[in-house]
């Protein structure tokens, strides 16, 4: 075998990764993807051992597991891009709340199964659209590659969540009421998914990410269809939206998630686990 050049030329492989001007926004944007997966994965994992039925317990653990896997990929790429020696674990375990970039929706308490499954549905419907776009259109091959892996799992999450929303919405009077309540509780937190800021615009201009406003139409269609089948009433899409998570202004809940999640890394700095 002749000598082959095995070191991957990052620049040739993915020129977007070496665009210094884009780097700060790109890093922020990758943290948003990673943190959404991490925090939603954390909330979902809280059900482990406490699910309403064994099959559901297993499915929720499986979803959480997928999301932790996505976190490792997105935050891993963020650390690599930043080039300051931080890996996915450093980013997950050693940033404080104001450095977290997840949307507020995913950090809200898990609530009952109605809140958990309605949130998963509302988020997955967005997540699936986003990953689908990224996997086939992103100008960054690295981003497209991760999205292509994640979208297969998220597509399954979306099917499962949609199915449960329909069944519980059109189940008993109580399950219907709980689902409608959950929908109304969570709805004001969905606007943040589509509210582009400067980071989103820069990434969209560079062709890395989609124009969020354009995803919104498809999301509303999907959500409307499922809610209709579930006999639930869709709140006003133009209603009030809570914002701030993407910029690091969170609810009071995130601090407690991190206090729990980061406990060992904070209490025993430098230890290897």
């Amino acid at each position: 075998m002749p000598d082959v050049e095995t070191t991957v030329d990052v620049a040739a492989n993915d020129p977007i990764m070496t665009d210094a001007a884009l780097r700060p926004a790109f890093f922020e944007w990758l943290c948003r993807l990673g943190d959404n997966a991490l925090i939603l994965g954390h909330r979902t994992s809280e059900w482990c051992g406490h699910g309403p039925v064994l099959e559901e317990d297993i499915a929720l653990a499986n979803t959480a597991l997928d999301l932790i896997g996505h976190t490792q990929m997105w935050l891993g790429l963020a650390g690599e891009l930043e080039g300051e020696g931080r890996d996915a674990d450093t980013l997950a375990y050693l940033r404080d709340a104001m450095k977290f970039r997840n949307i507020l929706l995913v950090e809200l308490p898990k609530g009952d199964m109605a809140v958990t499954m309605m949130r998963e549905f509302l988020f997955d419907a967005y997540h699936h659209l986003l990953l689908t776009w990224l996997s086939s259109n992103s100008s960054s091959p690295r981003v497209a590659e991760i999205a292509a892996k994640a979208v297969k799992e998220v597509s399954y999450h979306l099917d499962r969540a949609s199915d449960i929303v329909v069944r519980l919405g059109d189940g008993t009077a109580e399950s219907h009421r709980r689902m409608q309540d959950a929908l109304e509780l969570l709805w004001p937190y969905t606007g943040e998914m589509f509210k582009a800021d400067e980071v989103d615009e820069r990434l969209s201009d560079a062709g890395v990410a989609p124009d969020l406003a354009q995803l919104r139409g498809a999301w509303e269609t999907k959500v409307r269809d499922i809610l209709e089948e579930a006999t639930l009433t869709m709140p006003d899409p133009a209603g009030y939206a809570h914002l701030g998570g993407k910029q690091g202004r969170h609810t009071e809940h995130l601090g407690f998630i991190l206090a729990e999640m980061q406990f060992l890394q904070r209490a025993y700095p430098g230890a290897s686990w």
């Binding site: 051992g49 699910g51 064994l54 297993i58 653990a61 896997g69 199964m113 519980l168 109580e174 890394q265």
Partner: protein, 332 residues
């Protein structure tokens, strides 16, 4: 074990057996598998239901002490491994409840007995997980002890139980390895981590030995179960095997097994060791372990809080069936 104190029948001699019972025993002796539709003595069926049920309950209650650390796992990889492991345990519960169903008892009936305290689960899950090394110790010792018992049970006489065990055993070795890997990191880590590892071993050693159930001289009911091949080895045999395999692993970790009487016995080619405190064992079985209350409360709460969810899904399924029926009537 996961089924520690299973009430069984007294051993029947060949003369006491009916011709049907003799034929059944012959099949078992020849190593044939008994399948759900085959005739079986009522005692065999009842003992199996108790044993498989207790085992299934242990799997799902066993999710709780480890689940306790999922949200605090120290790295993303550890979190993912632990989630996968605890998810496996739920899956084991599912296989076992299904095996029990082939004996004519539903999962709901068994859960009802668990929740009302009429059925037990392994005493080990009534001990708390207090530091991260406990997650290592549980995988290493608790799953390790479970493997000791479950590997021979792959050859058990009841077909569905045997097949469930074969699937379960495939996953158990991963469980033990991930536990030992955590212990290794902790034992070779900082002084704080090493202390946690030793502390975990100190607390889990004797409760792990208790998993095999009381000493053979005190477990009166095993003879019939062994004749039926529902139980393959005696409690003491398995306990000895576990100690023989585990002590060198502890030494390799540089940890001290908390038993001053532990000593290699050249003659029996095994370790001599102290018996666990059996009065503690019986207290834990009675409900007085450190976490009995929390474990049961958590299971009952999950079940009760989930009622509306299960009802909702059932109601939808009924409506959907009605709609299908109406549609097919309309099409005719």
């Amino acid at each position: 074990m996961y089924a520690q104190l299973v009430k069984s029948e007294g051993l029947k001699s060949r003369e006491e057996m009916s011709p049907q019972e003799q034929a059944f025993q012959d099949r078992v002796d020849k190593g044939e598998k008994i399948e759900p539709k085959d005739w079986m003595p009522e005692g065999y069926r009842k003992t199996l239901v108790r044993q498989i049920g207790q085992h299934a309950h242990s799997e799902i209650v066993g999710q709780l002490p480890e689940g306790n650390w999922i949200t605090r796992a120290p790295t993303l990889e550890r979190k993912a491994i632990l989630l996968a492991k605890v998810q496996d345990e739920a899956g084991h519960g599912l296989y076992l409840y299904s095996a029990a169903e082939t004996l004519g008892v539903s999962r709901d009936e068994l859960l009802d007995k668990l929740h009302s305290g009429k059925m037990k689960y392994s005493s080990i899950f009534n001990y708390p997980t207090l530091n991260w090394a406990d997650i290592g110790a549980v995988g290493w010792l608790v799953d390790g002890a479970a493997i000791m018992n479950q590997v021979p049970l792959q050859r058990t006489s009841y077909g569905p139980y045997s097949r469930a065990m074969i699937r379960i055993c495939k996953e158990e070795s991963f469980h033990q390895r991930q536990g030992y890997a955590i212990m290794m990191k902790m034992a070779q880590g900082t002084p704080d981590q090493k202390n946690m590892a030793q502390d975990a071993l100190n607390r889990f050693w004797f409760p792990s030995l208790m998993m095999f159930g009381p000493s053979d001289k005190d477990s009166v009911h095993s003879a019939q179960s062994m004749a039926w091949k529902i139980k393959i080895n005696t409690n003491d045999e398995l306990r000895q095997k576990f100690v023989n395999e585990t002590v060198p692993q502890a030494k390799y970790l540089g940890l001290t097994v908390p038993d001053e009487k532990l000593e290699w016995n050249e003659e029996k080619q095994g370790y001599d060791f102290s018996e666990p405190d059996w009065s503690e064992f019986f207290e834990v079985i009675k409900g007085n372990g450190p976490c009995n209350r929390e474990r049961m409360d958590a299971r009952v709460k999950a079940w009760e809080d989930g009622e509306w969810f299960r009802d909702g899904l059932n109601a939808y399924a009924d409506k959907a069936a009605d709609r299908r029926k109406a549609a097919s009537v309309a099409a005719e």
